[in-house]
C-alpha cells in the first residue's frame, strides 16, 4: 500500500486518540470543516453532488501534472464538511490506483465506522465510494 497513505492515516489516528468523548471528536470534525476552503459558487453544481447525504456534498476531482488525483469538496453542513475534509486530507494527491485500492482502516480506528453504513444520513459511505470511483476512472484514462 502507498506509504504516504499509511502515514496520513496513522497521523489522523494519533490526532484523534487525544479526544476522549464524542464532543471533542465532533469539535475536531467541525474544526476541519471550517478549515476546508469553500468551493466557489460556480463549482457547486448539481452534477458534483453526492447522493445519499441529507446535507449537500460536492466533490470534484482532477488529475495534476504528476498524474495524481486532486480533490476539492464542500458541504452546506459543517459536520459533513468535516468528514469530507478528513477524506480529502487522506486521499488528496495520491496516484489513482492507490486511491482505487485504498484500505481506509483509519475510519474504524477513530470510531467513525458506524457512520459508514450506506443508510447513514451523512453519506460518508457515498463519499468513499465516489472518491474510489474517481481513482478507477483516472486509472483507466
Amino acid at each position: 500500500m502507498n506509504a504516504e497513505l499509511q502515514t496520513r492515516q496513522e497521523e489522523i489516528v494519533e490526532e484523534f486518540s487525544f479526544y476522549e468523548d464524542w464532543m471533542e471528536k465532533y469539535e475536531q470534525l467541525i474544526e476541519m470543516g471550517k478549515e476546508l476552503d469553500a468551493l466557489p459558487e460556480q463549482s457547486r453544481l448539481d452534477e458534483h453532488l453526492i447522493r445519499g447525504c441529507q446535507s449537500r456534498v460536492w466533490l470534484l476531482a482532477s488529475k495534476d501534472e504528476n498524474e495524481s488525483v486532486r480533490f476539492q469538496a464542500d458541504s452546506d453542513a459543517i459536520i459533513t464538511k468535516g468528514l469530507v475534509a478528513l477524506m480529502v486530507r487522506v486521499l488528496d494527491g495520491l496516484p489513482p490506483k492507490d486511491i482505487a485500492e485504498s484500505d481506509l482502516w483509519f475510519i474504524e480506528k477513530i470510531g467513525l465506522d458506524k457512520h459508514l453504513s450506506p443508510t447513514r444520513a451523512n453519506g460518508l459511505n457515498s463519499m468513499v465510494l465516489q472518491m474510489k470511483r474517481y481513482g478507477v476512472a483516472f486509472q483507466a484514462r
Binding site: 465532533y26 446535507s55 453542513a77 459543517i78
Partner: protein, 409 residues
C-alpha cells in the same frame, strides 16, 4: 406548568424509554415520524402470534374463527374510534400511503379525466402529493396546490379561489407533520363539498393526537397509519363513505376480495370491506392497532392533546429565546410539532449533535419538499411530542440545542 397526564405511569408502559443512546438516557422527540409502542400493544401482537394465529375468514376450524373474531373486532374498534356509520367503511391498508394510493388509483382512475383538477395544498406530505401527480400524468389531469401563509396556516382565500375551478378531488392533511398546523378540516370539507368535490383527508398526524369523527367531518375518505398512533408497523386504515366504496372498482386483486372466480365467465367481487382487502391481511397488526386505539382512549385523547400542547408551548417559549432561531410553522391552531431552523447552521448538524446527547429529533424535509421550497430552506429540525414526553425532556432539548449551537457557530 403541570401536566394533565400521569407521565410517570405512562412512561412505565413504554419499554424503549428505559434505554440509553450514546450513553445518555433516550429522549425520544420523533413521534411524528413514528410513535413508540406501549406494552399493551406489543403484548397484543405477541399474544396473537403465540396463541391464536391462523389465517382469517372462511376457516372452518376454531383457531381461524378466533383470529377472524379478533381481526373483525379490531375493525369495529376503529369504526367506533372514528365515528364511522358502518363497519364496512373501515378498510385495512398497509398505512396512510397505501390508503391514499388505493383511492388515487381505484377511485381516481374511474373519476379523473383529462383536464380535471385535483386540488391539494402546499403543506402536504409526499404521500398526498405523488399519488395525485402520478394519476394526473396518466390522465392528463392537473394538480394544483393551495398556498400557505407565512405562519404556516392554509390560505383559505386561495382555497376558495381554487375551489371555483371545480376540482373533482380535494385532498388535504388534517394536521401538518412539518408545520404543526391544525387545519379546520370540517370547514374545509364543507367548502369543498359545496363545490361538489370529493374530499380525502390525510389524518396521519391528527388521529394520534385528537378526537377524529368522520361523520362530523363529513369527508369521503380519511386515512391514517397505525405506527404513528401507538400501533404496529405495516397497518393503517382507509375510511371511505359506503356509497362511494360500493360504487368503486377494487384495486388489488386476489383471494378474499372475490365472490366467484372463473377462467371462462370472469370474476365477480366480494362485498365491502373485503372487496378492497385482497390477500391475507396483516392480522396481528390489525389486532394490535385495535389495542393501540383502546389504549389511547384509556389515557384520554383530549388529555394527550392538552399535554402535548403544554410541551410544545414550553418548547417554543424556551427555544424562541435562542439567537437566530426561527420557527417554521407558527399557526394559531397548532399541534405538538415544533420545527425550526437556525440562521447559518444546517439542521443536519444540530440533529447530529442532539443525537450524541441522546436526543432523537428528525431533520430534513420530512417528506414535505414543497414546504421547504416555500420557505427556501434545506430542511428543519423537528421535535415532536407524544403522550410519553415530559417537560424535563423539553428542557433537555433546549439545553441540547444550545450546546450544539455553541459548538457549531
Amino acid at each position: 406548568m403541570s401536566s394533565v397526564l400521569d407521565t410517570a405511569s405512562i412512561r412505565g408502559q413504554f419499554p424503549i424509554l428505559n434505554r440509553e443512546v450514546h450513553g445518555q438516557p433516550l429522549v425520544y422527540l420523533d413521534h411524528a415520524a413514528s410513535s413508540q409502542k406501549p406494552i399493551a400493544v406489543i403484548e397484543a401482537q405477541r399474544e396473537y402470534l403465540s396463541h391464536y394465529h391462523s389465517n382469517v375468514h372462511r376457516g372452518v376450524h376454531a383457531l381461524s374463527q378466533q383470529a377472524t373474531d379478533a381481526f373483525e373486532r379490531a375493525r369495529s374498534t376503529v369504526q367506533y374510534h372514528i365515528g364511522a356509520a358502518h363497519l364496512e367503511e373501515i378498510i385495512w391498508v398497509a398505512g396512510a400511503t397505501d390508503g391514499i394510493n388505493l383511492v388515487s388509483q381505484a377511485w381516481g382512475r374511474e373519476h379523473i379525466e383529462a383536464g380535471d383538477l385535483i386540488l391539494i395544498t402546499r403543506m402536504e406530505h409526499h404521500a398526498n402529493i405523488v399519488p395525485w401527480q402520478m394519476l394526473a400524468k396518466e390522465k392528463g389531469a392537473k394538480v394544483e396546490a393551495v398556498n400557505i401563509l407565512a405562519d404556516g396556516t392554509l390560505d383559505e382565500k386561495d382555497f376558495q379561489k381554487k375551489l371555483k375551478l371545480n376540482p373533482k378531488m380535494v385532498a388535504f392533511m388534517h394536521v401538518s407533520n412539518t408545520l404543526g398546523t391544525i387545519n379546520d378540516a370540517q370547514r374545509l370539507t364543507k367548502m369543498a363539498k359545496a363545490a361538489r368535490a370529493t374530499v380525502l383527508i390525510d389524518g396521519s398526524q391528527a388521529l394520534p393526537h385528537m378526537m377524529v369523527d368522520v361523520a362530523e367531518l363529513d369527508c369521503d375518505f380519511y386515512v391514517f397509519s397505525g405506527h404513528k398512533a401507538y400501533g404496529p408497523t405495516g397497518i393503517g386504515v382507509l375510511y371511505g363513505r359506503k356509497s362511494i366504496l360500493e360504487a368503486m372498482n377494487p384495486w388489488r386483486g386476489g383471494g378474499e376480495m372475490i365472490d366467484v372466480v372463473s377462467l371462462e365467465h370472469g370474476t365477480t367481487y366480494a362485498e365491502l370491506p373485503h372487496k378492497f382487502e385482497a390477500g391475507t391481511p396483516h392480522i396481528s397488526g390489525a389486532v394490535a392497532l385495535g389495542v393501540a386505539l383502546q389504549w389511547l382512549t384509556g389515557v384520554g385523547v383530549k388529555s394527550v392533546m392538552e399535554h402535548e400542547t403544554v410541551l410544545s408551548a414550553q418548547a417554543r417559549h424556551q427555544l424562541g429565546k435562542i439567537d437566530g432561531l426561527r420557527f417554521i410553522g407558527e399557526a394559531p391552531s397548532i399541534s405538538g410539532v415544533v420545527s425550526f431552523v437556525v440562521e447559518g447552521v444546517h439542521p443536519y448538524d444540530i440533529g447530529t449533535l442532539l443525537d450524541q446527547q441522546g436526543i432523537a429529533v428528525r431533520t430534513g424535509h420530512h417528506c414535505t419538499q414543497p414546504i421547504m421550497d416555500h420557505y427556501e430552506i434545506p430542511g428543519t429540525v423537528r421535535a415532536s411530542f407524544g403522550a410519553y414526553n415530559t417537560l424535563q425532556e423539553v428542557d433537555a432539548l433546549v439545553q441540547g440545542v444550545e450546546r450544539a449551537l455553541k459548538m457549531l457557530r
